[in-house]
Symmetry: C2
Subunit: 334 residues, 2 copies
Amino acid sequence: MASPATAAVENLPQVLLLLHPAAFTIFGEEHFTSPKFRFLKAYESSLPLDEFLAANARSVRALLVSAATVVGAGILDLLPELRVIVTTSAGLDQLDLAECRRRGIRIASAGDIYSADVADCAVGLLIDVLRKISASNRYVKNGFWATKGDYPLGSKQLRGKRIGIVGLGRIGLQVAKRLQQGFGCTVSYNSRKKKNPDQVPYPFYQDVRELAANSDALILCCGLTEQTRHAVDKEVLAALGKAGVIVNVARGAVVDEKEMVRCLVEGEIAGAGLDVFEDEPVVPKELMELDNVVLSPHSAVLTRESMMELARLVVGNLEAFFSNEPLLSEYEDD
Amino acid sequence: MASPATAAVENLPQVLLLLHPAAFTIFGEEHFTSPKFRFLKAYESSLPLDEFLAANARSVRALLVSAATVVGAGILDLLPELRVIVTTSAGLDQLDLAECRRRGIRIASAGDIYSADVADCAVGLLIDVLRKISASNRYVKNGFWATKGDYPLGSKQLRGKRIGIVGLGRIGLQVAKRLQQGFGCTVSYNSRKKKNPDQVPYPFYQDVRELAANSDALILCCGLTEQTRHAVDKEVLAALGKAGVIVNVARGAVVDEKEMVRCLVEGEIAGAGLDVFEDEPVVPKELMELDNVVLSPHSAVLTRESMMELARLVVGNLEAFFSNEPLLSEYEDD
């Protein structure tokens, strides 16, 4: 017979998990628990997902997902009582937003908590590529400074560089602020629509190719949508040119990765700082050997501080939902 | 018999070089030549330096030096007509300034041309250490992301970090601006004297140890003087503590390097980003193996743009001197 404590836990509302969230591995599941709900972990069952959901999740009202958990109509059909999806990601490209809207399912995302960290990472990758920090670190650590002499001149100054930001949302705006105010770069941008010039003084380019032609570095900060998929294609890379640099902290598929790899290998662009890839965690092997390419493992959002804030927000959103209170970070379709 | 062209060159005033300047190797000697002077290269002679100077340099009025060329009373005694020293460095610690002053020798330094690049490099090293960019780049390039899974959480957010700047001159002020305005850090500083608080709003600490005790990262931007030599010693490192980070873009000897290496190896401080070392190009071998240490080969000033500006300034100062015009970047003792 269940103890009273166990019975009390069993009476808690359930939060469904389809895949093991990366944040549990990286930061620890204990930070995401609450006395007000319990997790129903589909990934711990040996049943096929549809059988598991049919048997266990027909009354589930809340779903917690990471960036990797793709949720389309097929899954939603198996969760007739679902009313809220809480994501550990800021991006929502893994969710079928139209289906969620049609079914009245609310969405709470990680909101703005990652923006500063992602912007910092974008700027860090840009400095690293232009100033060759990782490459010269390798040079010193391999002992070449003492044996081969000074590292060859190849660094470029940040001041005066023309930065093209693709996607001037919360992250893009923070990247713009750091680079223009802090480092003396000049910023232009492409976005779904032109911002109010009273609030956003940077020149707007309707066309990514034209932005690239007028930029020394393109920094990709947009969400992944059908419009932005492969927005940086062969023509854009050609417009960026031999001296141009790509920084991607958006999603791998915003770039035609195969084409970008070819351009990097053949010297048709000058370098890249990449936090995201089309087929993570698989990274094209050509990139591993290039000195002018700096890679990070989709870790732009991963600081201790942002993970603590994420845990607070995930637990807070779920507790608010079960208490019929306003969500802390509800996504509003625009 | 000399041709008229050769004779014309031979009549040009001479600029003495004691050592081969690194900028000639890195950027190319041709950028530093002028129709108004010619170089007298002591380093190309097989004679001992004193014999060479006694035989060839008694009438030399101008000397061009790099950071590596130590100039004291002994050398100056051999150059009785010397009236100007032009340096390719911003720092002047290689020169005996008191002796130069006593003999009425003017000094033209590289002035402010490197400040932005050095500040960029300091910020780049700080982001790299806090956000583990070089370390995670290695992780990805070694193929570990796909085989070992997510990179362990260890990155720290920049926002809110307490930055202690040692030496709030032109470089330190630019570091402060980038980090406080751009990244939301808070800045304090130590300097020879407190700045006017109307112009410099950051809190001042008279004592480096106290600054370290109130900082998450110390960024060293001061000149090397007898006062700043080993200013970051065992006590300062202990005050910085286990979570603290050192960034050094000043001179290696500002830190007690042996003690810093011990602290890094034993985990008594969290990490370091180092562009300078006590015995360059020799780098303590313990640093080569540490994942939390990012090294660059005294390359903070080395961008194409700053080298072009340096060449313009060196040639301009020497041409101005020989034309009895004001030097472009004369050092004023304060």
